[in-house]
Amino acid sequence: MGMRKVAVVGAGMTKFVRRAQETAKELTWEAAHMALDSCEMTMDDIEAVCFGTAPDAFDGVHLNGEYVSDGAGAWRKPYMRSYVGGGTGVFVPIQGWYHIASGLFDVVMVVAEEKMSSYYPHAQAAFLTIFDHTTERPLKPNLLWIFAMEMNRYMTTYGLTKADIAQVAVQHKRNAANHPCALLGDANITLDDILKSEVLAWPVQRFDVSPVSDGAVAVILAAEHVAKRITDKPVWIEGVGWHLDTTFWTNRDLAYPRYVEYAARMAYDMAGIKEPRKQINIAEPYDPFDYKALHHLEGLQLADRGKAAELYSDGTASLTGNMPICPSGGLLGVGNPIAAAGLMKIAELFWQLRGEAGARQVPGQPLHGLAQAWGDLMQVGTVVIMGR
């Protein structure tokens, strides 16, 4: 028997903002409601709910998934929350996929939410608790320092300059100017703006980093026979992949994300994609930092090692290029409410592949798109390939 096909049939997202007035539950329900409306469904049509949010520490609520469950529409329904840190946003749709592909369900709602502003004064402090309590926490590691280390390693290994990497921030923030939900879109931003922004932990400067944000995204998944009844333009989930590396991140090769490569290979195999650079028409790699987008493009086999920046300088990555990268504006432009930011990339592919992305629509009727997220202790890669 072949595999059950699963399609995305609806999507909704809230604005990504610095500090939402709504509670986590309200944000979640807002996105869920928009997704239901987008495909003219109600909660009665939804058989199960999958929910994603990163650490409970942001909300300070134990069993946070249980607390938010009614906001996600899970009242008297099968409900599960999965998490793989920052990779969660692209993992929840995978969770929704296996709910349907297993044959147990036909219609599943997938919701991802993050409210980072509850953490006072800054969500950064919550990240201290992701580190090993004995060997690392006493050193009070700050994520910016850790990523400064990784960025430096990446630049040194391949001889890249700050300007090579800053092109990513420029392009993503410009793309985001066309996204109605974006927090940091700016059509006129220049390379100079990035390079002259405040240094946080060299080589990381303020505009190299995505902002802390609040927001929620939801998508509706359906089995083939249901999807074809609901819409003329289902967008199929063609391949999924995820890989989690060892906990001992200090032994890891910081210049190359092998866990992303393995996740991508898993997804390409499933989708039957033999030549990703030719077959993937839109890529939404995870870009919490500008260098991370490059790092991930290399892991995804969409660029040779150390060469991803060339996709930006030769125009391949632009909205009208051969393989537009982060037409949404990515995390750097739209914002980074962690789990929601990953699912935003899935929603973007849904809109782009249906030709509904408005001012940021890429030309040429793209066939296949790829979304990827990354997280934990520089440890996990999650990949979804979607196609018409």
Partner: protein, 383 residues
């Protein structure tokens, strides 16, 4: 797509009230090695995907999935974590295999409750931070309210709840892995201190440490890996309202919905006739009675009578919690459901030793995630 999925390997370590000589990683490693040896698989070669169940606040680490791969052989492999009970983990592995993309999947859950210095405060942090937390409810207080409501609505009595404790802790005496076996009388249970009337301390499961790992496989693999594959006939899970204000306080509707889903998959119309043995949640003694009713084994108000009549004892009509349940084995936090399923697998394989029940072909495991959740799961297994 793989239609049929079986449990082909199980391993556990524990269960004890404290384990100062072992870290959670060491416990999980031990359980994993036992499960892989039981199934005859090499995790680095034969296991296609790994599912773990964990909650950040139980572990004291944010995004705890970071710390799960190494001890189960999952480094640089497809691993993910569910914030659910162990039965949610098994249901996830079941779904993964049914997609046809995976042949063998491992599930892990553990408890290191003795590491948590402030467990009551941590559990209370699961309450609504705006509406409930300012009232400073202890979790047992909420359970006491629920018990009172259940007794009132169903006509059950505190003595019937105490009978559950007597039965389960006596059963635990025959389970070498159980931490809290005891030979008590109903009077002794009722004479214990009250936590939140009518809920007494002796009707509340003490915590224990331990780890459980299971290996699931698709039909073609299962038959070659195991002489006694235990088949999954149905898996259901559901939530009710998380709100204390709007939920149904007397009925475990989440378990009713979960059971309905699982029975439908298994083609079971009359659970009492079909199911030979059950392991249900008994973190609090009254929850066992509530679960037996929600699972459709009897009508509301009858579970207590059946218990005092001995119908749910190990050698009777429907043996419930022959393992000792959580009251006898200890509350294992996120691994409770795995412990329930573990006993069903042993019984269906005929490997339950002194407490083996005769002629068992279909078993049911049910779990609840504790106060203040309304999250339940049901798994139906057959040999």
């Amino acid at each position: 797509m793989h239609e049929r999925v079986a449990i082909v390997g199980i391993g556990c370590t524990g269960f004890r009230s404290i384990t100062p000589e072992q870290s959670y990683k060491e416990m999980v490693y031990e359980a994993a090695m036992r499960a892989y040896n039981d199934a005859g698989v090499d995790p680095r070669r034969d296991v296609d995907s790994f599912v773990t169940v964990a909650e950040d606040f139980h572990e004291g680490t944010s995004i705890f999935d970071e710390y799960t791969p190494d001890q189960i052989g999952g480094a640089l492999r497809s691993v993910h974590t569910i914030t659910g009970d162990g039965l949610h983990g098994i249901a996830t592995a079941y779904m993964l295999i049914r997609t046809g993309q995976f042949d063998v999947v491992a599930v892990e859950g553990h408890s290191k409750a003795s590491n948590i210095k402030t467990l009551p405060e941590v559990t209370a942090y699961a309450q609504d931070p705006i509406l409930n937390r300012p009232l400073k409810f202890n979790s047992h207080f909420i359970a006491g309210l629920e018990m009172n409501s259940y007794l009132f609505e169903s006509g059950s009595t505190p003595e019937q709840c105490a009978a559950v404790v007597v039965k389960n802790r006596f059963n635990a005496l025959k389970n070498p892995a159980a931490a809290y076996g005891a030979d008590l009388t109903i009077e002794e249970v009722l004479a214990g201190p009250i936590l939140s009337w009518p809920l007494g301390q002796r009707e509340t499961a003490e915590h224990a440490d331990g780890a459980i790992v299971m290996v699931l496989a698709a039909e073609e693999k299962a038959s070659s890996l195991s002489d006694k594959p235990i088949w999954i006939l149905g898996a259901g899970w559901s939530n009710d309202s998380p709100s204390l204000e709007y939920r149904d306080w007397s009925h475990a509707i989440y378990s009713e919905v979960a059971a309905r889903i699982a029975y439908r998959q298994a083609g079971i119309n009359n659970p009492l006739e079909a199911v030979d043995i059950a392991e249900v949640d008994d973190i609090y003694a009254y929850k066992e009675l509530q679960a037996i009713e929600a699972l459709g084994f009897c009508r509301e108000g009858e579970a207590g009578i059946l218990t005092t009549e001995g119908f749910t004892s190990a050698d009777s009509g429907l043996p419930v919690n022959v393992s000792g349940g959580s009251l006898g084995m200890g509350n294992l936090l996120d691994a409770n459901g795995l412990a329930r399923a573990y006993e069903i697998v042993l019984q269906l394989r005929g490997e339950a030793g002194l407490r083996q029940v005769e002629d068992v072909n279909i078993g049911l495991a049910q779990s609840w995630r504790g106060v203040p959740t309304t999250s339940g799961a049901v798994l139906i297994l057959a040999n």
